[in-house]
């Protein structure tokens, strides 16, 4: 479903929850609404799902205006949406009764095999007869997802579906979400979990205090954040503040003992360098390359992230986080106290103005 948002605003009493939002959401892909608590993520989802009325602005669904839809048209559109609430909303009764509730409202009767299928997809096999309200938090959340999947909507609106869940449930839900996008469904997922955003997002919309900070392709937003908020929130591991200066015809960011060469039109003022760990090359000896930045320092800590190891390296008072594969880590005998060289290109440094 093609969804467009124009100058959207919403207030609760006098408090502004959303304002001046302009968005174009990608159809058939996972759109992640990212932002800290209170950013307006849930409200945006509720407005998109026609659960609340916008105070201002317009939402277009496949080109049709929200404001001119009749009550019947709103109901018809809601039947093309599936909403998963942050706090599970379930009816008293069995898992199966909860699943059958949606089709019943539509006057449909679904076969047992369909029920079994959605339970399988969400890892709830064989739970048909269980009392829904006695399920664990993760199971409740998966039941909510199964309930909307059974209705096969075009648009999925998921409000922090994995908040406070055990890792297995999270994995289950993330797999199901990834599959939905593969089937061409439009998914809008609100989360403040960055790892999840990195894992699932095709597009990212970053909200803060009810306003849009940045929207675009996930890779773009994560590697080229437009504001320090996003950089910090997206846990960009290396955010290094300094002062921009011209030196020998080049622009460098002066960070005290360290000077990082950057590509910038500006040559003055405060700025922060954002460098993705995967853009930094780690070597035992300094290497000669076209990369303009090379620093040396001792490893302070090694963290096992599973597929990769994260090293903290102290170069002239700046703590860099870099990733190496488990194999390289073993081959190079990387351990705390050992000196290594870090090399990265000037073009890998993303600059954020601080003033």
């Amino acid at each position: 479903m093609q969804i467009c948002v124009e100058n959207l605003g919403y207030r609760a009493g006098k408090k502004v929850i959303l304002q001046g939002l302009n968005l174009e959401l990608a159809p058939g892909a996972v759109n992640v609404i990212l932002g800290p608590n209170g950013a307006g993520k849930s409200t945006l989802l509720r407005l998109l799902g026609l659960l609340d009325k916008p105070g201002l602005g317009e939402i277009y669904y496949d080109g049709r205006k929200r404001s001119t839809m009749s009550r019947g048209q709103c109901t018809a559109l809601r039947r093309r949406c599936g909403f998963v609430f942050q706090a599970p909303l379930l009816l008293a009764g069995s898992v199966e009764a909860n699943l059958r509730f949606g089709p019943r409202l539509r006057g449909l009767n679904v076969g047992d095999h369909k029920i079994r299928l959605v339970l399988e997809k969400t890892g709830l096999n064989g739970r048909e007869g269980q009392e829904a309200r006695l399920l664990s938090g993760g199971e409740k959340q998966r039941l909510q997802l199964a309930r909307v999947m059974l209705l096969d909507p075009d648009l999925y609106l998921l409000d922090e579906p994995t908040a406070n869940l055990d890792p297995l449930s999270v994995k289950n839900i993330e797999t199901a979400i990834a599959r939905l996008a593969g089937e061409g469904k439009t998914v809008i997922l609100a989360t403040h979990n960055l790892i999840q955003a990195r894992l699932l997002a095709a597009e990212i919309v970053f909200l803060k205090e009810g306003s849009l900070v940045q929207a675009g392709a996930a890779a773009e937003v994560l590697s080229r954040p437009l504001s320090l908020d996003i950089a910090e929130f997206s846990a960009a591991e290396n955010i290094i503040p300094g002062t921009l200066v011209r030196r020998e015809g080049r622009t460098v960011l002066d960070c005290g003992q360290l000077a990082i060469e950057v590509v910038s039109e500006r040559s003055g003022g405060r700025a922060a360098a954002v460098i993705r760990p995967e853009d930094i090359l780690v070597s035992e000896k300094p290497i000669s390359s076209s990369a303009r930045n090379s620093f040396r320092g001792p490893i302070m800590a090694v963290a096992d992230l599973g597929a990769v190891m994260a090293l903290s390296v102290d170069c002239g008072g700046v703590l860099f986080t870099v990733f190496v594969t488990r194999i390289s880590c073993a081959q190079m005998n990387l351990a705390p106290g050992i000196d290594v060289s870090l090399t990265f290109k000037a073009t890998s440094v993303h600059l954020l103005p601080l003033d």
């Binding site: 659960l51 949406c81 909303l89 009816l91 409202l105 209705l151």
Partner: protein, 228 residues
């Protein structure tokens, strides 16, 4: 003390078996208060649903009015209804004063804000979730109302019990509007009040026991319903 015990003994004896007069009083009490509660609930349930689900300008004022109306003394409502139905009042032509009809009207007016306010308070936590659930799964307007009523049925039931208990125990207003006419508008509370003042303490006690048992039976029945 022996005076009270003697009264209790004689009162209980009057109920074994109860006279046709007592039975008639009980029947009228139940009929009048039951009808009044039903009437009030028919208006209060939709209003509390509306107030719980809708956001609109002036909602707080309206909720405030309902809450204030809940604390209006019964005797003032009696005064109002008396003015309406007495021969010179706007409804005087109907000749309702000192009839069970007028008593139903007054008791319904007394119960209406109470049921509305109690149901609204109990619905607060339920209505929005039920609405979200129903709407998000594609309910139309009629289905939405059905889901919210179903989810809020205990809220309504509790409020309605409270409303019934309030009106069946009401005395002053009912006396004013009904007139406590023997065989016509005499109900449990007005009869207790009259008989006790006449010195028929044991009859007052007998009727009091019936009133208590009635209230108890209604509450037990309602709780039985809730347990389901």
């Amino acid at each position: 003390m022996s005076y009270i015990l003697e009264g209790l003994k004689q009162g209980a004896a009057l109920l074994l078996p109860p006279s046709s007069e007592i039975l008639q009083i009980v029947a009228l009490s139940l009929a009048v208060s039951g009808a009044a509660t039903l009437l009030a609930a028919l208006a209060a349930v939709p209003l509390s649903l509306f107030l719980a689900l809708k956001e609109f300008r002036g909602k707080r004022l309206l909720v405030g009015l309902v809450n204030t109306a809940m604390s209006v003394p019964a005797v003032l409502i009696g005064l109002l209804v008396y003015g309406l139905v007495s021969r010179r009042g706007p409804l005087g032509i109907l000749g309702l004063l000192f009839t069970p009809g007028a008593m139903v009207l007054a008791q319904a007016l007394l119960a209406f804000p109470l049921i509305t306010a109690l149901a609204l308070a109990a619905l607060k936590g339920i209505a929005r979730d039920a609405r979200d659930l129903a709407l998000s799964l594609g309910a139309n307007r009629r289905q939405l109302a059905a889901v919210v009523i179903r989810q809020g049925r205990f809220a309504f039931l509790t409020a309605i019990i409270a409303g019934f208990s309030r009106v069946i125990g009401e005395t002053g207003m009912t006396l004013m509007i009904g007139g406590n006419i023997k065989g016509q508008t005499r109900v449990l509370t007005t009869a207790i009040s009259l008989e006790t003042m006449k010195g028929n303490f044991e009859l007052g006690i007998a009727l009091g026991i019936v009133l208590l048992l009635t209230a108890l039976a209604v509450n037990v029945a309602m709780q039985g319903l809730q347990g389901k």
